[in-house]
Symmetry: C2
Subunit: 394 residues, 2 copies
């Protein structure tokens, strides 16, 4: 595997395992910062491989391939959570500087471990239990109320690995697989939430941390489709509590890089606005895409700064509101004419495309728009994203 | 020459002749827009070649090499003005879509042609003359007052190719060379200016145009060291006149892409605040680096949109003021510790490094800082740039 070409002046090389859009969106900030990227890509036409000169193709589940890749990097970080523990363990044993460290990453890879740890820290969670049998499922559902939410501890994303079930019989196949893998299933109460929120923070190995404002996220069919930054009308106490919880989780788990904490805003408890934690991600996250255009320091730049233990940048928003709308793949394979139309309609729309082929429902881009009039921004962002997708036609 | 890997969805390839920092700074916006870049680089470690996967090495003065490069691109644009006319002519004859077109680019390549054309358009210029002999020089200097400014019509940049002379004898060598090349020299009166300004506009082949606010530029030893956006205390009439002149020049000369018009602000004439045009550049320009962080659409994104005939983006500034300070090479070859220090001192500083080796006086990066307090921003930007350069040590 050839080494990436280093810039002169002592600037480091950051390796990213995985060549998806999150790695791709690090490319601009890396070029600006002057640091070199290298990406271990799934294929030579992976989203990031199209824009990063050093993008060897390799399998992130093969320890030797990942280790060979890491030899040429000063630090190594991740585009996704799917690198298996045995690969991470080998890298650590060989002295590779991984951010986040596997001891932290574990809590983003394994939802049972996450629930156990957060509960131990006193961070509000939905009621949950580890289950191995249909009898456990029935007992939990009878206790917290049906339906309940079942999650595979590992491997889920964008709604995959999550099911809402009305009785234990719906989980027969999952329970059999969990039993054969010895993994158990995570059961959670189905939270009656007002809305979904997310807090993004970044933390460096030195312990410096920075938080962006709490955002509101809107999911459609389990996929994030819209983010409003900051979350409109958010109770100031809830905002402070949420940021505090995210910074505390980052510190207690020794997270390095960007940490996304997805929350449900729930009914006030004793008059105090409240939340429970839904999920954790230890990498740049869809809920932070707004920051690329809406903040002094975007999440991809901040992630690079954090994993390099560089001082963190200001997360100050540029505008009162920024709205992000995801562009999902639709029926149109030829996106360029629609993209052109969107730019003509709205000179303030920041259209980001990921260089990915269209498949229905696949995240292929997003649009950010900033300004003062939230209702107007939401309409414009949704229109732009929907037009490129092909579901809005005028 | 291998072709760049195209993104799916119908997105085009933009070729850039020259691999300097201007081409490099297109890389982030291109990745965000989803368009593919290809760079004809001077060397495989050129500034842009470090961050653009398709960066064949070639000689921009060799018509066949440039033509082979252009075959793989939908449009071709420039990092510099140094592609010779015979090369441009071949490309046009072969049907390559060049932006700007050579018929426009000529006025940025040849300062005598520029003075003649602008004067024809009635755009204010310093008094000037084409000179071929020492007698011409003496006559001009005696008429407008000594010293005068002598410029080689072609090939100058960053103060090179420009001399301030007190008598014709100082130009003997230049006149001999100009005579042998048949090029003549440009002589201009030395303008007594209040300050230097610049207007950046972008124009697309369809004729759409957009202008950023007029900025103040500060030169040190002929090299731009600081830019203040917008120019503080600028007379509103002068601002409107300057933007109008730049848009008119762009239209009349059929410029496509970014056009930078450098101005001298001079004493008011009949009570009307006034300027004369100093130079033109038809590409992203140092006076527009502030827009990367300070405006909704930065100049590199806008240049790509313009040359692709995509609708232009909003040039709206994010903040009241943005100050840009250039980082010049100093005596420190190892920049990274100083860069780190600068980030720690100022979380709002946007530090851009070009991946270039240090040579004293070479432009190797820049720093942008935005906010409300101009004096404070200027101090901080100058400190950051000076610290990395090594001329500020505390």
């Amino acid at each position: 595997m050839t080494s990436p070409r280093r810039a002169p002046g002592g600037f480091p090389v950051v390796g990213i395992i995985g060549g998806g859009q999150l790695a791709r969106m690090c490319a601009g900030p890396a070029a600006e910062l002057g640091v070199t990227l290298s990406v271990l890509a799934e294929a030579d036409d992976a989203s990031a491989a199209l824009v990063v000169p050093s993008s060897p193709v390799g399998d992130h589940t093969e320890a030797e391939e990942v280790h060979a890749f890491a030899q040429h990097c000063d630090v190594v970080t991740f585009d996704h959570e799917h690198v298996p523990p045995h690969v991470l363990d080998l890298l650590v044993a060989e002295g590779v500087e991984l951010h986040p460290h596997p001891a932290a990453l574990r809590f983003a890879q394994d939802k049972l471990a996450m629930r156990e740890r957060l509960t131990g820290l006193g961070v509000p969670c939905p009621r949950w239990v580890r289950t191995d049998t249909a009898a456990d499922v029935t007992a939990f559902g009878d206790a917290v109320g049906w339906p309940v939410v079942a999650k595979t501890p590992r491997g889920g994303y964008d709604g995959k690995g999550v099911r809402v079930v009305a009785d234990a019989g719906e989980l027969t196949a999952w329970l059999e697989r969990a039993a054969s893998e010895g993994s158990g299933l995570l059961l959670e109460e189905r939270v009656s939430f007002r809305r979904e929120l997310a807090v993004l923070v970044a933390r460096s190995p030195s312990g410096q941390a920075a938080a962006w404002p709490v955002v509101e996220t809107v999911q459609t069919d389990g996929i994030c489709t819209e983010v409003i930054a900051p979350a409109p009308g958010l109770d100031a106490g809830l905002s402070a509590d949420a940021v505090h919880a995210a910074l505390r989780v980052a510190g207690e788990l020794d997270v390095t890089g960007v940490l996304a904490v997805e929350l449900f805003e729930v009914e006030a408890v004793d008059g105090r606005a409240s939340f429970v934690v839904n999920e954790l991600a230890m990498r740049p996250h869809n809920s932070g895409h707004w920051s690329m255009d809406g903040a002094v320091t975007g999440q991809f730049e901040q992630h690079l700064r954090a994993v390099l233990d560089l001082p963190l940048g200001s997360p100050r928003p540029h505008d009162r509101w920024t709205v992000m709308a995801n562009v999902l793949g639709g029926e149109l394979p030829d996106l360029y004419p629609a993209y052109r139309h969107v730019m003509a309609r709205d000179p303030e729309a920041k259209v980001h495309m990921y260089g990915k082929g269209v498949r229905p429902g696949r995240k292929i881009g997003h649009v950010n728009i900033s300004g003062d009039d939230l209702a107007d921004l939401r309409e414009r962002a949704a229109h732009a994203a929907g037009y490129i997708q092909g579901v809005v036609t005028e």
